[in-house]
Amino acid sequence: MKLPKKLQDKYESLNEKDRKKLLRNYEESLVAPGEAVGVVAGQSIGEPGTQMILRTHKFAGVTEIIISKGLPRLIEIFDARKTPSTPSMTIYLKKDVSSDEKKVRETATKILELKVKDVLEKLIVDLLNKTVKIYLDKTSLKKFMINTKKVSEMLKKSMKKEEITYEGNVINIKSKDANIKNLYKLRVKVKDVYTQGIPKIEQILPVKKGNEWIIKTFGSNLKEILKIPEVDTTRTFTNDLFEILNILGVEAARNAVINESLMTLKEQGLSVDVRHLMLVADIMTADGTLRGVNRYGVTKGKKSVLARASFEVALKHLFNAAVHREIDELKSIVENVMINQPAPVGTGMLKLVVKHDKK
């Protein structure tokens, strides 16, 4: 018997008696041929799922970042939604940074997406001079480590038509085709101009975990975060599965599915064996992309017509099968239950043939 590498090393370090014991235990804990692993996984996740409270969609905490939890989150993961309802990141920092609170907070402010409205004191539309005057708040400028010059530069970048000057903490934007309507439009537009930080990171929260500091964010942008030198790229993760898939690849996406679903279940105080989740994650990522466990994903990929038809929108599958002249091999379980034949699982998996002695 071939042991996994980890076990093989252990096996070699044991004496004869223990080796036999290990082998026997290993053999016993293997899944038997014909075991309905898929159904067991489904039931093992489904049963605790009934105990989850639907109401825990979003928890509003005082300082915690609001993240969708519980059953809605689990459904989100297994359905492989393109964007999570509450994108969030957990950013780990390199060892020389992570223990120093000051440095961590500095990095955090660097990460946070800053818009003009965040450093704004007041915004005045001067109709006489046809300008929009932006008064910047000095304390928040200091807090976010940015100056008027930088802000005005960013404004110039996004508004190439307008004439932008600054003086002290006041920025003047003179509109060229200045009628009142345009000025008011400009006033609204100015507020959402990006100034510094990483786009999409809307909130940050440095949290102490053990003896190191980590940064939790609301909003996710893995690609840009990984470029920051202080960030520990090996441990940082996001809850946006597709972001992981696109940046880090399928294997990472598979692990993300496992970790996210396990975390969601653990948060609710439910324990599900990882191997069930691993199986689900394997199936979801088997073809190199991320497919949801629903009729657009995993079920669509089933070979048997009858199996597909037995799960949601039956007619569509039947008509398509007729058009393409599909042949159902009747090799899976659902079809065989339908036609009342022994299904190839468990005891119906193997066929024993007795060899008669020629005597």
């Binding site: 309905a36 159904v39 039931q43 007729a322 009342n340 022994p342 119906g348 998996m349």
Partner: protein, 600 residues
Amino acid sequence: MSDLFFNGVFIGTVKNSLRFIKKIKKERREGNLSYLMNLMYDEKHDNVIITTEKGRARRPLIIVENGKPKLTKEYIKKLKNGEITWNNLVKEGVIEYLDASEEENSKIVINEDELTEEHTHLEISSLIILGNQASMVPYAEHNTATRDIYGSKLLKQGLGIYASNYLIRSDTDSNILHYVQKPLVDTIMWKLMNYDIHPIGCNVIIAIMTWDGYNIEDAIVINKSSIERGMYRSTYFRPYKSEELRYAGGIKDLICIPEKEVKGYRMEKVYVHLEDDGIINPEANIMIGDVLVGKTSPPRFLASLEEFRVGVEARRETSTTVKLQGNGVVDSVMISESSEGNKIIKTKVREQRIPEIGDKFSSRYGQKGVIGMIVPHESMPFTASGITPDIIFSPFSIPPRMTFAQVIECLAGKVAALRGTPINGTPFNNENETDLRKELLKLGFKDNGSETMYDGRTGKEYKARIMTGNMFYMKLRMMVSSKMQSRARGPLALLTRQPTEGKAKEGGLRLGEMEKDCLISHGATLFLKERFDSDKSVMPVCKRCGTIAIFNKFKNKGLCPICGEKSEITLIEMSYAFKLLLDELKSLCIYPKLHIKPKS
């Protein structure tokens, strides 16, 4: 200057709206204007709105003027003597009806002692917060609202004497409780709704304790001797109707004792109770399957009658049979005529129902439970004075549901039984707990209603003192004898050839989707197949075209209507439901071709 609207239509303006409203109200109270009219002042829009439209919910309130209610003691005295009625009060401007809009401008007080100069109306009773049903729950203000709702819902299910002429009525499924009692602790509503004349339960002695786990999970333990004395015994009535129908061509049903030649003749013994006219004798003891009214009908298809057979043997047996769980008695037989002039026979069957394990009982606070054990009197716990409880109720049912009224009723019931007068437990206006405790102490008991009790089986004293008292308990409509069902073989549905569904049709229990998954995950494939074998059928399949063919049993040969003589038929075992699926696919213009291969 405010706008004036009448029934939603602008009709003019008012200079001083408040004075105008005051005047109109005065006129209405004096009876010069209709009492059906309501008016309000909308401050936000400066509108005066008068409505006399139909469909407004209105409620009566006592008018308050200068901090004094207009309903004085003289009026109450006159009301009691019968000199005046409610209508007089309305006419004289003591009580007026308000709708939702006029309520907006009013200040209504619930209790008279909270009355101030500002108030305009006084609530007739604080009970008005609750509806008819909810105000029948005593001490409801001590409970959480959910339990009061559950409790008032259960009141509808309690057995009692629902109508005193029940013997001549023929309601479907009616129950009569034998020894009904007026509750010791009630509310005003019980009297007002005539529930003290036909109550819905009886007063029992309960002990709040555990009993060897037999009252776990809301179950109750009940005293066997109490049952034998007739406690919660009820009778179940069920009428059966049979009609002598007339058919086209002058043929009609015949009520008689069917002859043995009749098609579908049952066993001889089911007809024994029938008289010569084919109708059962009242007071006959009957069992399930017995015939109440013997009847024969002409054959379903008349053509077959004329061509082949004539006479009795062609007729069908269509007698009315009884559906009972235990033994029943024919209560009454009524012979009449329908509006079409057909002879109608209504037989009412009665069945005595003695409380058994599984019957549902409830107090009035949503504390419902089933009998978990029937314990002999001598094994039940008893108090020092020799009182044995009728029902043992589990203490674990109280804290999570917070039904304090359950405990208070237990206390109040005890006081009521000891002092000999009933207690008024009307919500918000009742004998309160402190008074009850004092009274109980005066009567020589512990003020919390607990007593030292002894185990009936060992005679040993229980270490804890146990709360006992009197409570009003109801037997609810749900009884095991009308729910119990089992099936080994039985009728099949015509279309699917699968077992029928539901108790009335002697149906099977469905092995559903999730149950199927369980069998799969156990790997019990062959058992799974056998479990779904109920519609197993062998179908002739044409190998050439792959469709279901025909099998001629006489010639012992198959024939495919598509391929004709060339057809090659094999017999394939499949579920009938799958054959139906194939047919349905064909109706969708999909050709489901079966490829037949030998078993590998």
